[in-house]
Amino acid sequence: MRDTNLELQESGWEELRKEARKIEGDLDVKLSSYAKLGARFTQGGSGYVDSGSPPIGSSRSWKSMEMEIQSLLEKLLDINDSMSRCAASAGPATSVTQKLARHRDILHEFTQEFRRIKGNINSMREHAELLSSVRDDITDFKTSGSMSPRMQLLRERASIHGNISHIDDVISQAQATRAVLGSQRTLFTDVQGKVKVLGDKFPMIRSLLGSIRRRRSRDTLILSAVIAACTLFLIIYWLSK
């Protein structure tokens, strides 16, 4: 009976694991396609040349692929839960636990990657939508932009401003670190003071510790004597009875 049950559970486990591996393979392929789609969207957006049909087409395929990946992730999560229940009912086996942990890690990794790519695609799409306009305006703007030297100076200044922002971030980190180090130094100064005071009083402390140790051993002796006396009394009483 138990053997039959175990065999059934093992076969269920293997089937679930096979299905999980298949879905993981599918997810890998689809995530790669999704990333390529994002890259193509980026190129399309930056060029601004084909502003007519490609955004609509890529948007449609992007949405359908996103839904597909989402459903695959949910299915994989369900299968992982089933495998977890199977492993729990089957009993403690180390290889099963390791495989289960590995599958869980893979699912987590896929989820994180999907979320990141989705965020990127959303950013790019919003950017393109904000800057979308008529082709003539783009052509005029490109001409005027490339010709004027003032634009190049402004671009340079924007780069410098970006650098200033980065420097601000680094400086704020340094300030936070300096504050923490300052508080640590204060703490160590206090500790040093306390240790010095302790050192001054060390002979007194040593004698105090000696007294404590003697008192403790005396207490132990007294307790042992009392216990022995009570035990002896009980034995004598029992014998006399």
Binding site: T94, T97, Q98, A101, R104, H108, R115, N122, S123, E126, H127, E129, L130, L131, S132, S133, V134, D137, F141, G145, M151, L154, R155, R157, A158, H161, G162, I164, S165, D168, I171, S172, Q175, A176, A179, S183
Partner: protein, 289 residues
């Protein structure tokens, strides 16, 4: 791996036995705490994160019985770090308990650090409401401890998320406050126009052109050099485009600014909202005519 797992389970059994037993000499909680610590360490080496987290929680219970709140809080933090890999909700609740314990013993700076860590966990999960709440708490605690730099970092996060949740007034106040503080610091005053630009964009999202104009005048008084910057020109031109309800002009202004300084995703999202509103208004006008 397997050896570590079995060793951890052995230590855990010993600790449970010691807890259930009656301690004649010495404290059973101290001994159990030692054994739980060893067990949790073995579970971590075996990469059994759930077991490690659960064991750290038991360790925290032992330390609470011993009235050692600092050690209990530290055990909760270790449990949170273990759960972070498998169960975000459990991790957040552990950090919450650690924060409460640190507040009890008066270690506000550590409480602030772990509140910020909770906020970062929620940010990773893209739960913006909760991330905003915890960043706000963290900023308050850092401010109480006079750690201004970290407080300002948390406040900027609060402002960013508040704008994403369409709480523009709160976002505006925070950016203006940070700009005002930055003006007094020689190192940070060159970043003031960035903060004022963010505040201006939030004003645009509110859709009140007169308020935008008043805000721009106030910013000029705040920072005399702001009126000569491209950020000021950008905001003023957008306000004019909105006043005239001209989507093409709006798009031109944004495109010109973006060609010099690429807009990040946060600014893109907010400006897209402004543009959608402007388009809707224009369509409305067309329908009326």
């Amino acid at each position: 791996m397997a050896d570590q797992l079995s060793k951890g389970e052995e230590f855990e059994k010993k600790a449970e036995k010691k807890l259930s037993g009656w301690g004649l000499f010495g404290s059973k909680y101290e001994d159990a705490a030692d054994l739980f610590d060893k067990a949790a360490n073995c579970f971590k080496l075996a990469k059994s994160w759930d077991k490690a987290g659960a064991t750290y929680l038991k360790l925290a219970s032992c330390h609470l019985k011993l009235e050692s709140k600092h050690e209990a809080a530290q055990a909760h933090v270790d449990a949170a770090h273990s759960y972070k890999k498998t169960n975000i909700n459990e991790s957040v609740s552990c950090l919450d308990q650690a924060v409460n314990l640190f507040c009890d013993i008066g270690r506000l700076s550590m409480a602030a650090r772990y509140l910020k860590e909770i906020a970062e966990l929620y940010e990773g999960e893209q739960n913006i409401e909760q991330a905003l709440v915890y960043y706000e708490k963290s900023a308050d605690f850092f401010q109480n401890e006079e750690v201004t730099t970290s407080a300002n970092q948390c406040k900027q996060k609060v402002a960013q998320f508040a704008a994403q949740l369409e709480q523009y007034q709160k976002s505006i106040e925070i950016y203006e406050e940070i700009a005002r503080q930055s003006l007094n610091n020689n190192l940070l005053k060159y970043g003031v126009k960035g903060h004022l630009l963010n505040a201006g964009i939030c004003q645009l999202c509110k859709g009140d052109v007169i308020a935008v104009t008043n805000a721009l005048e106030r910013y000029q008084e705040l920072d005399p050099t702001f009126s000569g910057t491209r950020e000021y020109r950008f905001l003023a031109d957008i306000a004019a485009a909105i006043d005239e309800e001209d989507v093409a002009k709006f798009t031109d202004v944004v495109k010109e600014f973006d060609s010099m300084t690429p807009l990040d995703s946060w600014k893109t999202t907010l400006l897209l909202r402004v543009k959608e509103k402007l388009k809707a208004k224009e369509l409305e006008e067309d329908d009326l005519t």
